[in-house]
Each structure stands twice: as C-alpha cells, then as structure tokens.
Amino acid sequence: MVTTRSTLRTQEMLLNMGPHHPSTHGVLRLILRLDGEVVEEVFPDIGYLHRGIEKIGESLTYKQFIPYTDRVEYLASMNVNHLYCMAVEKLAGIEVPERAEYIRVIMTELNRIISHIIGCGALAMDLGAFTPFLYGVVEREKVNDLFEMTCGQRLTYNYMRIGGVSQDLPEGFVEKTYAFLEEMERRWDEINRLITENEIFVQRLADVAVLTEADALSYNITGPNLRASGVDWDLRRDMPYSVYDRFDFDVPIGKGERGTVGDCYDRYLMRVRETYESLKIVRQALDGLPEGEVQAKVSKVFKPPKGEVYMRAENPRGEMAVYIESDGSTKPSRIKFKTPSFNSLGVFNKICRGQMLSDLVAVIGSFDIVLPEVDR
C-alpha cells in the first residue's frame, strides 16, 4: 500500500505559541492545531496588552489625551498623534497653519520609514537573517536623533498638538534630514541587496499565506497589506488629507513577482518600495517647507461642538481610524481606535491553514503586526 498523508494515521497536536515566543512581535498568543508541522487551525488570543486606552480617553480632556495616542502604536507614534489631532481639528473646525501641516507630513513620513525598517528587519530576523535588522537599526537611530532634537523624545513623541505642533523645527533639522535622506537611499539599496533578492529569503516568502483581493476587502485589511493583494488604493493619494495632495509619489501594487499576488513576499516588497516613496515625500516636503506659524489659536479650555467624527489616516501598518463622539464638554464621550493590525490578525485563521509552522513566523512578520495597537 502506498502511504500518503491521507492513509497515514497521525495525531493532532495542540501547540501554544506565545505569549512569550521570540517572534510574535510582542505578547501575542497563537493557539495552533498542528498535524506534524502543518498548521490546521490558528486561534489568535489577544488582549495581553489591553490598557483600556479608549476608556481612559473618556476621563481626560482632548489635549490631555494626546500622549496616550503615542502608546496606541509605539512604532509609529507620530502617525497616531497626527491622526488624533486631525480628528479633533475636524470636529472643532480648526485650520492648521501651512507650515505645521508640512512639518506633520515630514514627521509622519520619517516615522513611516523607520517603522518599515523595523518591519522588514524583523521579518528577516524571524527568517533567521539577523544582520539586515541591525543594518536597519543604524539608520533608524538617525531618525530617532532627528526626533529627539525636535521634541526631546525618541519613541513616544507627543509632538503634535490640536491645531499644530508643539514647537517649530530646531535649527539644523532641515540640513540633517537632507543628509539622512541621501544616506538612507544608499543604505536601503544596500540592505535590499543583502536580503530582498536572496534565493532562500524569496523561497521562504513566495506563495506563502496568499491573501486574495476579495478576502482582503472583506476582512478590511488595509495599507501595504491590501496593496500587496493587488488593490490600487492609498488613502494619501486617493482621499488626501493634510497636504498630501501637493506631493508626487507612486503607490506600489503587489504583482506577485515571485509567486502569487498577495503572498508574503508581496507584502514585504510593498514595505520596501514604500520606503523609497516616503523618502521622496520627505524630500518634497522639505523643499517646499513654507515659513510661518506652527500653531493655530486654540482656546485654553477646549470644547469642541457636539457631534462625531471618523478620521482615517494611512499609517505604516494600514489605515488607522479614530472615531470620536463629543457631547460638547471638555471630554470626549467616546473614543474608538480602529487599528489595522487588529484586522490583520483576524484573517490569520483563514490564510494560515495548510501552511507550515515555520511559515507562521513569516506571516506574522509580513503583516508587520504590532501588538499594543491590536490590544489598545
């Protein structure tokens, strides 16, 4: 008799991956049902980092809440800062000075760059290549220095304010940023040469955990992960917020270059290419940086009118949205963060079936999941 997988009697194994597993990018617990090394089912168990940020928001004033938005996603604090401030400004109808808008774009795009550095580096590290991650961290350090000289912080920036930014760019910032852009372009090429076309790396990612276009939309996967599935959609280009309509940049789309559209390799490639686009945007924003105020007039006791607002922004991991309900008092009556990684994790059980255990770390890495953002 020929022994095949269907005739061979095997025993299923229940495996607990996390919450302290080295490559779950935080405290994520995946309960796996395995047949040998083949994953039959994945049950993500989240909530280990739940801090109740939405509940905290209900007892703080609008301005007091800004530092908390940093903690929603620690790898892209600027972007969450920006999103929250935009939402409140929309609610209260505040016009932000042009210079402040440019500074915000520079900051969020720089933050996107370093977030993608970590994303790509961590994926490579999960696949066993440690070196690209450390190459990337060297570059990330320079952006952290830029942020530090701007707002004094290296991780949780608390830089944006309702109606502007907390302070103008420091002296020498523009020159240093130009220098960084130049260096980064060269270095990013170098890191890519090391890893992107590496045969083993491609083999590990191509055709793994394919996310189809229909699934991506139904599960509301957004950002680079959606584009990897072949959907030509970028909020910054298609529904521009802030001053994104003034910049010229391309939106990379997944084409299944080494496998199927929407596989892990495409998701990785989107981040690599987006980094180049972000570099372009920062350069244009620096070129066109206008003079002027950086903070609009906002009353000390800030009371937005009664109403609600739903604001979306293109964050490094996808579209993050904030929903704020105001009852006309100094405190919001409801704040809800809709986060991209939450949706990404929701699709795991669908796309990880039939993959191998080793692929699972590639999937986590390719979706670039950040757990504080999932749990809030």
């Binding site: 090394e37 066993g128 191998m356």
Partner: protein
C-alpha cells in the same frame, strides 16, 4: 607514520621499565585526557570568534569589557563561569534519565571523532585504516543525542526540534558519505593519515589539477556539513525564532553548555575533515617544493604542521560563521528538497564522473 601515543608508550617503556601493555594503556589514557581537556578550548575560542565576527559583520563592536585582557578575550571565561553557576533544571514531567544522558551522548559522539584526526605527523591518537568511516559513524551519535534531548524534555517545541534534526541529520549524512567516498576512491584509502600524505606532492589546497570531480564534491560536502552542524541556513532544529531554542529549550547551566560545546566541536570536526580531504591536511601549500622546510631543526616541522592545520580549520569555521550571519534559514521541506532532489543526485553523478575520470584519465 606513528601516533604520538605510540611514541609516548615507547618512551615510558624505556624510561621507567614498565611492561609494554601498561605503557600502552597509560599513554592512551594520557592522550585521551589531554584531548578531552583541550577540546573545550575549541568552543571557547569558537564562541569568541562567532561573537567578534558577527559583531564585525553587523557593525557592532562585540564583547570588549570582560576581564583585564584586551578585546574582551576574558568573555570566554566569563561565559564558562556563568553557565557553571546556573541552576541545573529538569522539567517536572521530563524523562529524568534520558534528559540527563542526552548531552553526554552528544559530547561522546563528537569527542570520539578527535581520535582519528591527524593534526600533524605525530599529533593523533590512532591511525585508523578506516578513519573516514569511523568519523562518519561516530559523529552520527550526535543526532541520537539531539533526538533524545528533544524527546526527553517532554516539551512540544523540543520535540519538534528533535524530530526536525533527526530528519535533517539522517538525510544529510548520505550526501556527505557520497562525497567522502568520491575522495576515498581517488586516494584509494580510508585512512585520514594516508590521504594527507598523498596530498603532499600536490598543491595541497585542493587537487583540481588531478581530478575535477573530487574538487566538485567539496561543494556537496560543505553544504551537507553545514546541515550536519545545524548551522544557518540549515539551523532548523534550533531555529530560535520558530522553535524558541529547539531541542535544548529546557536545558540550563552545564548541560546546556554541553550542547554548545558539542556544536562547536562538531564544527571543528567537519572542518578538519574538509581540510584533510580537500585542503592538504596539515601540509603547507607546495610543501614538496619547499626544500628548506626539511632543514628546520628537529621537532619544529611537526609543530609548524600543527599550526598550519589549525589555521586551515579555523578559516573554514570562520567561513561557517560568515555564512550564518549572512543568510536566512530554510524551511524544513525546502531543506529536504535540497538534500534529496539536489545534493544527492549531484553527489551520485559526481561519484560516477570521478570514477570515469579515473578509468579514462588514468
């Protein structure tokens, strides 16, 4: 050639007038003792090299603070002392006997290989006429130790690591054996010492001048050797980002360091094999054409050979480290594909090619 233990036995017999049997046993014991005492230096230096080379590759500095010696050399000692101090944990539901035994199985398997390695003219314990065969067999014991460790820990991650390693090591033994057989056929001998002697006349750094296929078999040997040592890109049994730490997840302290020692010693053994089979053993390049070497004072040349041998081996180990910090890791099925669909047919064809070369080319 005469082994150092044999010479030492003769010396004992003459100096102390003991019986030949006693002298032989005593000299062997001393030889083995020296060997066992010196082998732990290999992982010590190996781990230091690994740290420093990886640091250099990754634009870091690496250890530079430990102790009073420069360049962080004392880090090796600090690591050793640290592992000695750790609590020796055995998981509650582990198979206690097998759990304890597994590191020894690994260590014994690897250390036994050193008996047949010719470090220099006199620097070996035993000139086995089946030296290559002996090393291949004994080093397989490491796979047994790893599977035991994975099984006995009673942990699903270690079990996965153990099973992976069983599959991997059993598979990759075949290409290694085939490439070694190609070389053995070329020399007409299975003795490592004789193989070394035969390379004295040649370039002594590979012999593509005489048989192309033998040189090609080095490629197969080296890839398979990386897999045998569980080195990246084939480190799936211990894949730290997938299986936490693989088969030694549950080990701590001295038992854990035994696995580390075994791993570095295994690296040394496969590199030493490569040096003997493909890179002229302990001989200098073009040694037969360097007459002044013969005029050196008595006893200097063997030591020179010893140093040459170590340099060659450590260069290959450096190569392994270099590969490890550059490449990502294969998946288990891709690893098996590479072995059974790539390396193995290539090794067989290579073997056939070498045979044809010998028949036709004389």
């Amino acid at each position: 050639m005469e082994s150092s233990s044999f010479l030492f036995a003769e010396f004992l017999q003459q100096a102390f007038h003991v019986s030949p049997t006693f002298a032989a046993v005593l000299s062997l014991l001393i030889g083995v003792g020296t060997c066992v005492a010196c082998i732990p230096l290999i992982p010590g230096f190996g781990s230091y090299l690994e740290r420093k080379v990886s640091a250099d590759i990754q634009q870091r500095i690496g250890p530079n603070r430990a102790g009073f010696l420069p360049f962080g050399i004392m880090q090796v000692l600090a690591d050793g002392i640290k592992t000695l101090q750790k609590e020796d944990l055995i998981p509650a539901h582990a198979d206690r006997f097998l759990f304890r035994a597994a590191p020894y199985v690994c260590i014994v398997g690897v250390f036994s290989c050193f008996a047949a390695i010719p470090f220099s003219e006199y620097g070996y314990l035993s000139d086995l006429n089946i030296g290559v065969y002996y090393i291949l067999c004994v080093s397989s014991l490491m796979a047994v130790g790893i599977v035991l460790a994975g099984w006995a820990s009673n942990n699903k991650w270690t079990l996965l690591g153990g099973i992976r390693s069983a599959g991997q090591m059993v598979s990759y033994e075949i290409p290694i054996a085939m490439s070694v057989v190609t070389v053995a056929m070329h020399f007409g001998s299975l003795s490592l010492a004789e193989m070394t002697m035969a390379q004295r006349e040649g370039w002594s750094i590979g012999f593509w001048n005489s048989n192309l296929f033998v040189t090609l078999s080095f490629v197969v040997y080296w890839i398979a050797a990386l897999a045998e040592c569980n080195r990246t890109p084939f480190d799936i049994p211990e894949a730290e980002s997938e299986l936490v730490a693989g088969y030694f997840t549950e080990y701590s302290g001295l038992r854990f360091s035994f696995f580390a020692i075994a791993e570095y010693a295994e690296m040394f053994v496969v590199s030493a094999m490569a040096v003997v089979l493909y890179f002229g053993g302990f001989y200098l390049p073009f040694e037969a054409h360097l007459p002044f070497l013969q005029e050196l004072p008595d006893g200097v040349l063997p030591w020179l050979h010893f140093i040459v041998f170590l340099i060659k081996v450590w260069f290959l180990i450096f190569l392994m480290i270099w590969i490890r910090w550059t490449l990502p890791r294969y998946r288990i099925d891709q690893l098996m594909d590479l072995c059974w669909k790539g390396l193995l047919p290539f090794a067989f064809l290579n073997f056939l090619g070498s045979a044809c070369w010998m028949v036709l080319g004389g």
